[in-house]
Symmetry: C2
Subunit: 512 residues, 2 copies
């Protein structure tokens, strides 16, 4: 049993605001960390260095405004918590002496309006994936945005961090699903019109999407939803050579076919997730539609894969009224409403899918077992992909070996695998998973060194420091080099205008 | 013959900068106006109230920087000219006593690099449509961005104004085609990384796209290009009822089929363009692909149209190697490189297409003939479309009748027609064309009143003041009400930071 010492709250909850704030120890501690490996390690150790001084759980927008006003008056910072699943230090207030409040919108979790004709729904920002899907289900609709954190993360968090979702092609980020956004800033309400498209100045929505809480607190959004897909097809395609698989994916991504699933796992990743034999890469292909059969599109994609040496397994199709094929086992402790029904089409595809859902839970076990595990994700144009892939893997292996004292190649050597989470006509979003023996007691430092080495490699090779995990605090050194300087200056000026006291999530994205 | 009096230049071209600047009368006058109806009228009259004092034609980025530095030192403003096709007062310096320079990047018109594997090309901002397509053609590639202004407008202008293009669905605006942008600001170079996707903070590209020259001068961009389409299908579908056609379009837009062409013309619009009998609406459907046959997708779309009462004409298909079907006549004086080959598939579709290409030329003739003609375009979600459609048409008819003294319904009454230029799952982008007898000598005032009345109606009904014509100066009163106030404050702060002397296109989008 680890004794948890928690810094006393440096703020006194204002009695005139009722139970809007709490300094309850559990509430504070449970919002002190995100879900990065370094967070989980510290949590296991009972190290909560930066607990919020208060937690605020507003029940409406006027209470959000009250929180901002009170904090501004007190000189306290406000960190929107979302679902607390940040893996980049986005919810941890590393603010030194400055007190701060963790803002949790979990009480704002309703689907307020549904416009079935326009396929749009007005949803409060505190709704988690399962909660909003459950409400949409009654209308026969779905947002179909399933990040790995789906069970816990919230709509507001997705918008604030440009979360990546279910669709491997086309509508990859939540960005494309946003019809309009409403946010509370210290200088008033920011609400855009509901518009299917516009050319009136730079998009106000795109300025908020990805702002990680530094400009305002997203309270609700009109989101583009869709009927639940009834026609589906899936297929696993094996490749002897990962780079041949990558070439097949490139051609599929450029074909205009837009598969919903198009994830290429290298041999190691396929093996780790139980979907492969460790010798062959696996391409997981899926198509879906609410409107009509997708078998023809799947056949075209499979034909492309075959031209690049791929060996396809059986194509599994489902359609309305057809018997649902036997499903793979659903991870039992994942509750919520992720619509696995009809999704499971068996075989390697299903095996990988279950491993994907399990992974965040496994990580906690890895920490307990002394396994360092971390992921790095980026995006890069095709012309530079192979070089990035080689240098990122090499950087990870070398650094892990160096800090763990193990050989880079021998027994106990690090496992570095790669998959594509999303793909575009102009390039893939590669996702690297590193597993290695942890240095007991030095896990955080080990992680920091590996993180820095791989991040450096990704940036040097021309990639983005993050395709969908956000910047937060952990990615800052590389983000600062990646973004255009005048854009940083513009963002800083915009923040100073809307948040002159600098209360909103200080330290993510920019410094004052 | 109209005598043209031009205000003498208030700036003296700096001799140390060679021929970077000119005060040549023709060069100045030809950049004094855009291409709105009110511009054409004033041009016919020889009224050039706001000619630039100098015209600058830099040959490289260092010369762009020199122009900005010199103007900042002189207290002069800089208005990027693009191709001069603004219909919203975007290139006209209504700056009172403040002198200004028109910045024309026409010398920067090269495709600098092509990355065929990633389907991307680095293109200079001054390249017009035909000039960049001609260069891409050598690589078997195309940008396939064809705004009506294609022949004259430039890549930089498209990016600065969020131009709408060829594709009626999916990639409707140039926004989606931008992989990275490079711009010169008074405080340094703004260049984003080439990335197929990213989640690193708010998109820096989206902040520049639509900024209408107030933050910086776009000098080049990596653009997503594609192979030239070889498989095509087109079909015209007639509807007795425009609103039934709209419902068919809605379902097609929500089907995931993504037709390249999906333009619904009401009966009047179809008649005006010679594509219809004046009784029936026409839906112009088209699919295209560089990769495979599109007949099946067309059949599905046509089946949807049929369910809504549409009567399809013949489906015309073309494929590689097949004989090209007889083409409609290409408007002879439209030179350039708009790829009509293989595009023409005859019939009503082709007739409408030619009318579309001709329209900007016809407008000049209309002015000479005393016909007021103007267009209004917006976007709106489906739930509010019918109401917007009714009120916009009513507002146009009433106001035209009022200012022209004609009856709203009798002979010589205004013709107000509607078509959809682009459609989305959540709503259409309706485009209204107004034609009426002009009030000789009072055309500008007449236009201003009609513009105001219809703009008011569009805004009141929930639409955007512009879907793809930009804001410029003419749309400002409505844009100011449409955009979120905190966003305007943020934009103003960003501009003040990057352009502290306020030299860049003052008066569009925001006031200092």
């Amino acid at each position: 049993m680890v004794a948890v010492e928690v810094r006393p709250s440096r703020l006194k909850a204002p009695s005139e605001l009722g139970d809007l704030f709490t300094d309850d120890r559990y509430e504070r501690v449970s919002r002190a960390l995100g879900k990065a490996y370094r967070d989980v390690v510290r949590g296991f150790r009972g190290e909560f260095e930066n607990p919020p001084d208060l937690v605020a759980t507003p029940g409406d927008e006027s209470e959000v405004e009250a929180v901002l006003s009170w904090c501004e008056a007190e000189g306290a910072a406000v960190i929107p918590f979302g679902g607390g699943t940040s893996v980049v230090g986005g919810v941890e207030g590393r603010l030194g002496e400055r007190p701060f409040v963790s803002l949790d919108l979990r009480r704002l979790d309703r689907v307020l309006e549904v416009d079935g004709g326009s396929l749009a729904a007005r949803i409060q920002a505190g709704a988690t994936g399962p909660v909003l899907e459950e409400q949409l289900r009654g209308h026969g609709l779905t947002l179909r945005h399933f990040p790995q954190s789906f069970e816990f993360s919230t709509l507001g968090g997705w918008i604030a961090t440009r979360a990546g979702g279910h669709f491997a092609t086309l509508h990859t980020h939540v960005d494309d699903l946003v019809e309009s956004v409403r946010a509370i800033t210290p200088r008033g309400t920011w609400e855009s019109r509901r518009l299917p498209g516009s050319g009136a100045g730079p998009s106000p929505d795109r300025a908020l999407i990805g702002s990680e809480g530094i400009l305002g607190v997203v309270t609700e959004a009109w989101m583009r939803v869709r009927p639940r897909p009834e026609f589906k097809a899936s297929c696993g395609v094996e490749f002897g050579d990962f780079l041949a698989g990558a070439r097949a994916v490139r051609e599929i991504a450029q074909s205009g076919l837009y598969p919903a699933n198009c994830r290429l796992l290298d041999a190691l990743e396929a093996e780790t997730t139980g979907a492969g034999d460790g010798e062959r890469s696996l391409l997981v292909l899926g198509f879906e539609s609410a409107h009509g059969p997708v078998g023809a599109a799947m056949s075209q994609a499979v034909a492309i894969a075959r031209e690049h040496g791929g060996e396809p397994g059986e194509i599994r199709e489902s359609a309305p009224g057809a018997a649902t094929p036997p499903m793979g086992r659903k991870p039992r402790h994942i509750s919520g409403n992720r619509p696995v029904d009809g999704e499971g089409t068996g075989g390697a595809v299903e095996t990988w899918r279950n491993a994907f859902l399990f992974a965040p839970y496994l990580r906690d076990t890895f920490v307990a077992c002394g396994v360092l595990s971390e992921t790095f994700e980026t995006a890069i144009t095709w012309d530079r992909f192979e070089a990035l892939h080689a240098t990122a893997i090499e950087a990870a292996r070398r650094k892990v070996a160096e800090v763990s004292g193990a050989s880079a190649d021998g027994p106990g050597s690090p496992r570095v695998s790669c998959r594509f989470t999303h793909v575009y006509p102009d390039g893939p979003a590669p996702y690297f998973t590193v597993m290695a023996p942890a240095v007991r007691g030095g896990e955080v430092e080990q992680w920091d060194e590996v993180k820095a080495a791989v991040s450096e490699a990704l940036l040097e090779a021309g990639g983005t420091i993050t395709h969908h995990h956000a910047v937060g605090r952990d990615h800052r050194p590389w983000y600062d080099r990646q973004r255009p300087d005048p854009f940083a200056a513009a963002l800083r000026a915009a923040k100073a205008e809307l948040d002159p006291s600098g209360i909103l999530n200080p330290g993510v994205l920019i410094d004052p």
